[in-house]
Amino acid sequence: MTEVWAIVNAEWTKLRTVRSTYWTLALTVAVSAGLAYLVGHSLSGSYDGWDQDRRDDFDPLFASFLPLMVGQLVLVVFGVLAMSAEYSGGTIHASLTAVPRRGRFYAGKVLAVLGPALAVSVAAVLAAFFAGQAGLGGLGTSPGAAGVPRAMAGSVLVMTLMCLFALGLTAVARSATRVLAVLLPLLLLNSQGLGQVPALKPVMQYLPDQAGMVIMHVAGPQDDPRWARDYGPWTGLGVVALWAAAALLAGLVALRRRDA
C-alpha cells in the first residue's frame, strides 16, 4: 500500500511542477463560469419574446450546465497532457525504470489525475451553477431545488470520467495531438451536429459526450420525443463510466504490451 501511495505521490509531484496543470484547471472553472453567466444572461434577456411552448420547456439548469460541455474540453486537455507529457518529453523511460511494474505506474497516474480532476469538476459545476443562475436573474433556481443536486453530482462525475477517458485514450495513442485531433471534434461537433441527425441518433446517443448530457440537463427536455434518449440520467452516467473504464483498460493493455 505504501508503495502505491509513493507512486501516487510522485505522480502528483509531476502534475504540480508543470505549468499546464495550473492553466488547464483554472481555465476549466473560468470558462464554465464565464460562459454560464453569458448564456444565463442572454436567455433571460430574450425570455420575454418566447412563446408558451418554449417557456414550458425552459430549464434553468440548461443555462448553467451547457457551458460545462466547453469547460469539460479543457479538463479533457488536462487529462491528455498528464499522460502525453510522458511521451513528448520522454519522461516515460525514467518513469518506467523507477516503477517497472507498469500497472502500478499507470494506477498511480490515474489516481493522481483523479484527485484534481474531481476537485476542479466540483469547482466548475458550482461556479457554473451560480454564475448561470446569476445571469438568469429572476428565472434562476436555487441549489436545493428539485433535481438540482442530482444534476450537480452527475455533472461532476461526467466531467471527471471524461478526463479519465481522455487519459486512457492518450495512453493508447501516446500523443496529445493524435488524441485531441479525434476528441476535440468529437466533443465539439458531435453534440452540435451528428447527435441531432435522426438516423444516427440511435447510435450516437451512446457516445461518451452524449451519454452524460441527460443527467447534466443539456440534452433538451426529456419529456419531448424530439430530445428524449433511450436511457435515463443514471444509465447515461453509467454509459460514460463504461467508456472511461474501457479507455483506461485499453491504455493499461497498451502500456503493458508495448516497448517504452
Binding site: 505504501t2 508503495e3 509513493a6 507512486i7 505521490n9 510522485a10 505522480e11 509531484t13 509531476k14 511542477t17 508543470v18 505549468r19 499546464s20 507529457a85 518529453g89 520522454g90 519522461t91 516515460i92 523511460h93 525514467a94 518513469s95 518506467l96 525504470t97 523507477a98 516503477v99 517497472p100 511494474r101 516497448d259 517504452a260
Partner: protein, 329 residues
C-alpha cells in the same frame, strides 16, 4: 581516497552499497535478441557484467547498445533470450532505483519541469528521502540551476541531470548510455573519474560508447558489439594486444625496389600513407639491414602501433563486411 574535479567524494556518509551475489554476475545477458519489424537490432547477444570495475559497452552507432540497455532495464521486451539483474528480471525489482541507476538519453526530461522537481518525483517513487535530491544536485554541480526549467539546460547540463538521477538511489549497479556526449573537456574528465570511483567502491559500472579512445581511458573490461552481435568480451589490455597490430613504417625514394627486397625476405608489405610502405611481421632492425644490404637509401624506419580506434574500426568493419557478404550469399 578518490578526488573529484571540484566536487566532493560521491557517497561519503552514506551506507555502503548492498552486497552483491558472490558469483558477481550482476548484469547477465543471455542469447538476447530484439527485432523491430523485420530489422534485427540485437542478435543472440550473451555477456556478463561484474562488479568492482568499469565495463565498457562498445560498438558503432546503431550496433544495438541502447536497445540492449533498454532490455536490461525492462523498457523493451526481448524477442528472445533474457536480460537479468542479480539473476532476475529488472521488472521484478522492488524500489529499483536503490538497486540500479541508469542514464539513458539524458535529454528525455520534461522541458517545463525544474531539475529539482524532476529528481524529486523520481525520489518519491522509490521512497528516497528528499535530502538525497539536494545531495545529488550538489554532487553533479547543478545546485545553482536546480530551479531552472530543464528545457533551458545545455546538453552538458542535461547529462549531469541524467547522472544525478542515476545516482539518486545510491545504487550498487550503474548503467550509462553514452555519458560523455555533449560534455565539455572538464565534464568528460569528471565523468571518467566518477565512473572509476564508483567502480572502486565495488559497484558495477556499465557504460556504452561508440568512441574507442574514450573507452580506453575509462574502462578495464570491454564488451564490443557490431550489428547486434558480440565481437569481443575481453580486458582492454587483451583487446589491444590482440587487435592493435604493430608494423614497421619505411620511407624511401625507391619504394618499388624496397618492396621487392622485403617481399623476397618473406615480409608482407602494404602501402602506407604518403608513399610510405608498411612492413608487417618484422622489426626495424631487419628492415634497415635488408635495405643496407641492397644499397637502398631509407629516410625513415619506425615502429608503429595501430591506434585502438583503428583496431576497433577494423573489428567492427569486419563484422559489417561479414554480414554484408552473408546476406548476399
Amino acid at each position: 581516497m578518490s578526488t573529484f574535479v571540484g566536487l566532493p567524494a560521491p557517497f561519503r556518509g552514506l551506507p555502503a552499497p548492498r552486497s552483491v551475489p558472490s558469483v558477481g554476475r550482476v548484469i547477465e545477458v543471455q542469447d538476447l535478441r530484439k527485432e523491430y519489424g523485420g530489422t534485427v537490432a540485437v542478435d543472440g547477444l550473451s555477456f556478463t557484467v561484474r562488479p568492482g570495475r568499469v565495463t565498457g559497452f562498445l560498438g558503432p552507432n546503431g550496433a544495438g547498445k541502447s536497445t540492449t540497455m533498454r532490455m536490461v532495464l525492462g523498457l523493451d521486451r526481448p524477442t528472445a533470450g533474457r536480460a537479468l539483474i542479480d539473476g532476475g528480471p529488472y521488472r521484478l525489482l522492488r524500489d529499483p532505483l536503490r538497486r540500479v541507476g541508469a542514464m539513458l538519453d539524458a535529454t528525455r526530461v520534461h522541458k517545463g519541469r525544474s531539475a529539482y522537481a524532476h529528481l524529486l518525483w523520481l525520489a518519491q517513487t522509490n521512497r528516497i528521502p528528499r535530502t538525497r535530491v539536494r545531495q545529488v544536485l550538489e554532487l553533479v554541480g547543478l545546485e545553482p540551476v536546480a530551479r531552472r526549467r530543464a528545457g533551458r539546460f545545455s546538453l552538458g547540463m542535461a547529462q549531469r541531470l541524467g547522472i544525478a538521477a542515476a545516482l539518486l538511489g545510491d545504487p550498487p549497479v550503474l548503467l550509462f548510455d553514452e555519458p560523455v556526449n555533449g560534455l565539455d573537456p572538464e565534464g568528460i574528465v569528471w565523468i571518467r573519474t566518477l565512473m572509476k570511483d564508483l567502480a572502486a567502491e565495488g559497484r558495477t559500472v556499465f557504460v556504452s560508447s561508440h568512441l574507442m579512445s574514450e573507452m580506453a581511458l575509462t574502462v578495464e573490461h570491454l564488451i564490443v558489439i557490431g550489428r547486434g552481435r558480440l565481437l569481443a568480451d575481453t580486458t582492454v589490455r587483451a583487446f589491444i594486444d590482440t587487435h592493435a597490430r604493430s608494423y614497421v613504417r619505411v620511407r624511401t625514394p625507391e619504394p618499388e625496389r624496397l618492396r621487392q627486397v622485403l617481399t623476397g625476405a618473406g615480409v608482407r608489405v602494404e602501402d602506407g600513407a604518403d608513399g610510405t610502405l608498411e612492413a608487417h611481421g618484422t622489426e626495424t632492425a631487419q628492415v634497415g639491414e635488408l635495405a643496407a644490404a641492397h644499397g637502398l637509401a631509407v629516410h625513415e624506419v619506425s615502429l608503429r602501433t595501430a591506434s585502438l580506434e583503428e583496431a576497433f574500426m577494423r573489428l567492427t568493419g569486419q563484422a559489417v563486411e561479414y554480414r554484408a557478404g552473408g546476406e548476399r550469399a
